[in-house]
Amino acid sequence: MAMRGESVRFWFPVLVLSALAAYAGQKLVRSHVDPSVSAPNYVFDLEISARRGSIFSAYGKGYPLVKSVPYWEYRLDPVALSNAVAAKAVRRKREPPRPKNAILKTVSDALKLDYSKLKAMAENTKNRYQYLALSSDPDVHRIVADSTLVAGVAIEDRQVRQYLHGRSLSHVLGSLNAEMVGSAGLELKYNKMLSGTPGTVRGMRDAYRHELYDKRIISIPPKPGADIYLTIEPNVQFEAENAVKWGLGEYGAASGWAIVMDAETGAVYAMVSMPDFDPADYGKASDERKMNRAVAFNYEPGSVMKVITAAAAMDSNPKKYGPMTHFNTNRQDPNYYKLPGDYGHVWEPTMTLTDAIVHSCNIVIGKVSYDLGPYTVFKYMQRFGFGEKTGIELPGEQYGILKNPHKQMWDKASWSRAGIGQFVAVTAIQLASAYQAIANNGMRMKPYLVDRIVDGDGTEILKRKPEPAGRAISAETARKLRQMMTGVATPSGTARRAAIKGYSIAGKTGTAQKAIPGGRGYYPGLYRASFCGIVPATDPKLVILSTLDFEQRAKFHQGGNSAGPVFKRIALAAIRYLGVQPDKPEELEDGAEDEFDKILDERQGRASH
């Protein structure tokens, strides 16, 4: 017992002392080898930026629209070059130092820069780190990063936002500012989700500033940003952009916009606003170009609103108003106050509501609107979504202008004007959404662009389901209305140039005078031409809106003559790419050349055969 007690008394302090001595000894030894042990200044904090999420089209992962790509930024440091850093590096490898000119020649060849300019930059030693180029080419990097070939060029890793489709869809995708923060479009709307969470490293470095990996205090990896999947069909988008561009050139319009929407769900397949901008160079674009006219521009729609008035009439009082209800076309009717005119038209004494839509008769629709009164017209316009945001996932969406007669009395002249698309202002997306309600048997769906959002770790954080925005009209009224509208794109209607063989189209033209700001009437001879159509009318699959905005007098300023053909081009492409089946197949002749093929031939400069 005595021996055991003595042993414990001896060995316990021995062990404690040994441990302390080992720790001190190790510190002593390491401090000679590793300066970070004795120098707390070598502790560093590093924020690792997270990869910004990508935006994909409806085709998914294989079809990105925007991606963050690692690039190398090259900057010239003339001082470093002059100090022959290259020579030092080369000497270490026991090779003769390269002359300055040879280095500059290598750099100019690799980065495809003008040699004389590069030489001038190298002479300017006052200005260090002069920007040379941004490149993602690994071959270029291999040359410039080779210290035996090049010196005085600083290389920095950078994430560059690459818009793979160029200017296409620029208003929807938006852009980033210099700090890589979203400044427009979806980049702005989903900036937080796309950005991800940066990681952190707190560790130590040695005297050569190399990290001592075993000395990492904190290491939290970055969480990449979420990926966004859109409903946009890139081919339809491309063709819609081409169609609007074609319309601008063909008819001399200053701007134009178009929307292609799923008739059942409200999913947006294409959204075009011209003029557009280069998202990679957002800062240089003018405000005029930056404006997304499809959602952020209020305008008087004109006759495309007649359909809404007819819908309000037939839905609110189906006994009084039907497709075949006759109205007299006398403008000087004493029962009405200041009816709008139909300049240049001589009508039959009476006209049905269907004919008023097909021929776009202001007098008849004005009368209907007047009879309904401001409260009913307002109620239905609200039901169709006018005067409020549709909620589409884009910043800057406008409300439109729809005065509430309960709060603000409507001028008596506006009772009839509202029915023909004056006195109210709408956005293109509101208009397309209203037509979508007609196509979807009266049920308006919230338009949407974002199909799903997938987190950086692969978890689906949002899956968009079609969401009803409310019933605008009954299914029966919607069906009748579509039937009435099929006459517009026929030889007797206002948009015969919008007709497509094999498909019935329920649409309406609009030729809206452009209002002078401040409510001082309209610009003489300046119009906004629109056509909004449902394809096919019997089993609606698509709603397509096209609008051309004229800033000077044009020969074909009418909706049917200018916006109609643009609509047709978009519809032909959408039908082809989305596999929409014809509802009048008997019109399609075997072997007859498809009109879309002709358009492709025309665009590609080939003679049609």
Binding site: A21, P64, Q237
Partner: protein, 134 residues
């Protein structure tokens, strides 16, 4: 000869103390060596992890760059210009050239392609195909 018990005890104590001191030094030495070896091996492993992390990141970047390069070539605009450049008249298939099938392999009813096929076969349910000689 009788041993001096006092001296013997003193020598025993000294021997024991020296042995104990030696043991302390020995244990100390072994612990320092073990510690140094362990920490050096750990450092090596961390260094190699760090290098591999860097390598992985650079390979990830290279993959991203390469994928993007290929994806950028597949945009409708690029395909269109490539077709034009090579003088190719490729077009997306027409409705009457496309048969949409259900999961069970049967075509959807009412397709223009099926109708066109029926028309060509004179109203029959299956299409007649022209022989190559014609």
């Amino acid at each position: 000869m009788r041993k001096n018990r006092k001296i013997t005890r003193k020598m025993n104590v000294m021997t024991r103390t020296a042995a104990r001191f030696g043991a302390i030094i020995g244990v100390l030495f072994v612990m320092v060596i073990i510690n140094l070896l362990a920490s050096s091996s750990c450092q090596q492993i961390m260094k190699s992890i760090g290098e591999k992390e860097k390598k992985l990141a650079s390979l990830d970047d290279a993959l991203n760059r390469e994928e993007t390069r290929w994806e950028a070539m597949k945009t409708p605009e690029k395909i269109d210009s490539a077709l034009l450049r090579h003088g190719l008249a490729m077009r997306p298939p027409r409705g009457d050239q496309t048969v949409y099938m259900k999961a069970d392999g049967k075509p959807y009813v009412g397709q223009s392609s099926m109708m066109a096929a029926a028309r060509r076969s004179g109203g029959g349910k299956t299409a007649r195909y022209r022989s190559a000689s014609r």
